[in-house]
């Protein structure tokens, strides 16, 4: 919410006076020993599930994150079921492959991730929360003005679950490709953006429903229509734990930097909290996150302009 309003505010300021200028620079940074980084986002979709164990890199090291081989990785639930992850072809990628139509886990159960590596144990516990179905997807038209041409944008329709306290990550695939910029991370807490709204059990609010649109620019800086006839999109809602919602909220704050005047309102750089810990408090630190999501999705192809349901 705050991010959004400040984004608008800085946009207004930009047009109000002048544009701030930005330069890419190469400052020297403090050095630090690497620590473990875990990327463990498990879903109940009928696919292989991956847990990645890596090491942090120096900030300006632009290579692929170094994987850590030779770990023992498993997830157990509170009913005693164990899912074993086996290291795949890429170092540091540990994979659980479902048998047949099997999918990972069951809504409502608790899951504990345990990674043992070089005599150290990294662990975390979470719960798989429920997810509402995505009822439908519609397309709308926004009439242009002298600055922007007509654009077409999508809206997905789903209703938040009762009671208060559900959190979701809405992922969008455009033409089969995941939208994966920091600004593409769309979160909902109940039907709105943040805790404490009491906005539960209703249709997701409009900014959430329309968060599935990539607002990209062409080379001249003009805004491209998020979707044009012939495009398709798939909306996938992932349920989150409360901690995962906080984690991703903080990821957005730290990575979706507005630049320009928006920097007036940015918060200081801070470490994103992790829900993993080393059982030995004086052992190697660990960052990253473990979440087990239930997913629900729906897709639609934008076949013709006849499909426009609303015009703004």
């Amino acid at each position: 919410m705050k991010q959004l309003t400040l984004k608008y505010l800085s946009f207004l300021l930009g047009i109000a006076i002048l544009t701030a200028c930005e330069d890419v620079i190469n400052p020297g940074l403090e050095s630090a020993a690497p620590v473990y980084a875990v990327d463990a986002w498990i879903t109940n979709s009928q696919q292989a599930q991956v847990v990645k164990l890596m090491r942090t890199q120096p900030y300006f090291d632009n290579s692929l994150p170094p994987g850590v081989s030779g770990a023992n990785v498993r997830i157990t639930d509170n009913q005693g079921i164990t899912y074993s992850f086996v290291e795949g072809a890429n170092a540091g990628e540990y994979i659980w492959t479902p048998a047949g139509n099997e999918s990972f886990g069951e809504i409502g159960r608790q899951y504990t991730l345990t990674i043992t590596i070089n005599g150290e144990t990294l662990t975390s516990t979470t719960e798989m929360n429920p997810v509402p179905p995505v009822d439908s997807i519609t397309f709308n038209k926004q009439l242009g003005n002298q600055f922007i041409d007509d654009i077409y944008f999508a809206e997905f329709w789903a209703t938040d679950l009762l009671p208060v306290g559900d959190a979701y990550w809405i992922k969008t695939y455009k033409n089969g490709v995941l939208l994966n910029k920091p600004s593409d991370i769309n979160l909902a807490y109940d039907a709105a953006f943040s805790r404490g709204g009491g906005f539960t059990g209703v249709t997701f609010i409009a900014p959430v429903r329309t968060s599935v649109n990539p607002f990209d620019e062409d080379e001249d800086g003009a805004i491209l229509s998020p979707y044009v006839v012939g495009d398709s999109l798939y909306v996938e809602v992932n349920s989150l734990s409360e901690q995962a919602f906080d984690f991703l909220t903080e990821v957005v704050i730290q990575t979706d930097r507005p630049g320009g005047f928006g920097e007036l309102f940015s918060t200081p750089l801070a470490n994103v909290p992790s829900n993993l810990r080393n059982t030995n408090p004086s052992g190697t630190k660990v960052v990253g996150f473990f979440n087990v999501a239930a997913v629900a999705g729906n897709g639609r192809k934008f076949k013709s302009l006849e499909e426009i349901s609303r015009v703004f």
Binding site: L13, F60, K181, T255, L269
Partner: protein, 794 residues
Amino acid sequence: MNKAYLIFLFCLLFSLKLSAEEKVTINGYVKDASNGEALIGATIYVRTLGVGATTNVYGFYSLTLPNGTYDIEFTYIGYAKQVINQVLNSNLRLDVEMIPQGEQLKEVVISAEKEQSLVQSVEMGVNKLDIKTITKIPAFLGEVDVIRSLQQLPGVSSVGEGASGFNVRGGSVGQNLILLDEASVYNSSHLLGFFSVFNPDAVKDTKLYKAAIPAQYGGRLASLLDVRMKEGNNKTFEANGGVGTIFSRLSLEAPIVKDKGSFIVAGRRSYIDVLAKPFVDILQDGAKLNFYDLTGKANYNINEKNRIFLSGYFGRDVFFFDGDQGFSWGNKTGTLRYNKIFSDRLFANFSAIFSEYDYSLQFGEDDRDYFRWKSSISNYTFKPSFSYFVNSNNEVSFGAETTYYEFEPANATAASNGVARPLRLDTKYNVENAFYISNDQKIGEVLTVQYGIRYSSFFSLGPGKKITYNDTIPGARRRPVSEVEVRSGDVISQYNNWEPRLSMKAQLSNNISLKAGYNRMVQYLHLISNTTASNPLDVWTPSSDNIKPEIGDQYTVGYFQSFGKNDNYEFSAETYFRQTDNQIDYIDGANLLINEYLEGELLTGKGRAYGLELYLQKKEGRFNGWVAYTLGKTELQVEGINNGEWYATRYDQRHNLKVTGFYEINKRLSASANFTFVSGTPATFPTSRYVVQGILIPYNANESRNNVRLPAFHRLDFSLRLDGKTVKSNGKQRKNTDYWVFGLYNVYARKNPFSIYFTQGDKRVPVGSAINSEARQIAIIGTIVPSVSYNFHF
């Protein structure tokens, strides 16, 4: 501590006892003869006795002398000195009107007080900027600005261009008490920090207290900015105005009843939207982009002993993309004052004050889907204050202040697909009371002491909730564990504090003095802001059972000297040390907006700030100006941040150098320039990176806060003022005057860094491939900015 109070009372009694001698008192108002404006800080001096007084903020003075015949001198810089020979054998009312000296190659700079200069005044850490000086400092986009001008003074800074507010001696933006005719101004900025809310046409006097804040004032730790409005010309109609790059301004002043009452109305509005409207469709479709303010004041002399003033301010910033989406924010203040002279030696003022700051924000598509949010803080204050002029050596001030606050953190409605839900946080009700007494006492030829005490108390009142939070590891969010409803009028929490104030001066010679001061300040309202610069959506929140009041103790010592012909140069060196308790900082990822459990996001700790301020001023001559240098450090220690170690605040600046110069080329043309050098402010940089779900996340493995410095900031500004001809072609004096100001801001177009941020770039990276990271440096104003404005007076 109790011992100190006993000594204080003893001193007070001692001073009262002295007054028992037989003496006579002269008193009255000192005013400007051309427009009837009261002169603040004018000096009344009896040379043969070596005693004197200065006028207070209403232009009133009172001086008690033995019977006799005296030459009484009235002086005020920029005005012709008046000497009145007077036989005094009974109390006398003596109102004086002083005549301004005409245009000369000599200009008023910084201190309005010449006879009572910084060297001789007991005040320390005080800077006065008179409006004539403010109008001469080169201004951003040519718009004369009170708060930006203050930043040319030692000890005053900001986190960067465009940042709201200002920082004083290592205090945060929310630690300044900003008063406009005694009413609190909660957000002093238009368009973030580019302009301040004070219309220079309506401002008479600006005084910034960085230390030794009088006992009459309290409520903020770092400073007091006391802005007094003009009363309005009570002799004749007067208009001032201008057309600038951003604002158009107009002010009108006129007598209500000649010599008895007058008013001033002054307005400003930005007009870029008006000019752009024919060309920009969205402005025709309901988009708005403007800011404006209206300032007004009226006064009336009921009779010799009674006078009333009514003043008010109303200003707003409005930004709307279309009819349904946008923001707006603004302040409103109102002050009703009643001056009463009870006796020759007892002056009283009663003020009833209202102030409100509010913002609203809305977005949405239509009546089925929208979000509309309002938030406000308002207060009502009653403040009786008395000055008792005991004798020529003692002036006792005492009074009280009671303020009722209402905080509305969020009153919102959101609708989704036709279902509307209110989203409202409880209103908070608070009362702040204070009593104060202080004395200005001259002890012998050398020593002058100002000592006082303020007793303040702060109550949180029901209806409301008393919330208990769990304890957790430092730096993590605290969750509520229990809530108890408190009934209307019941006390939820209460704090009481003694706030001693002390300032003393030793006049070592006519032009050298040493000063020292101590004050304790207590702050019950907290500005909640974790962004680099404060912004209009920041909320104020009161102390409660979970947030303790911030307490600050400042110690300061200074050396003051004037020298040169006619004491034309003034030098001062001041050092300060301030220690604070219960300073607020925030957990990482704090959610500060529309959060019922806001208090769980806050951390508190200790602060310390210390520094040295050097100031050299040349006050007169065709070439004049000043150099201000501050060496400072300000740090916080908060459990849960920076491994519990001390860390520099975002507004910590080691070196801060300001040079301001004015040069009068000829009668019509004058030039001014200012140069600023500020060492880089701290920032937090990452050491490492990692990837989760295809997103590159920066990581500071050392968990340090503000571990690096941005490059230094420096900038030169220049302006040229061309006055219109003062005589007509037929040789007669023109009644109207006008002038042009041409300005260049950031003359050598330096891209001064405001911040550096770290990002993975704007492009989408194919899943599974390496992600580039980069650092980007932002300059808010990275180019030279020219400006022109035209100003008139008639």
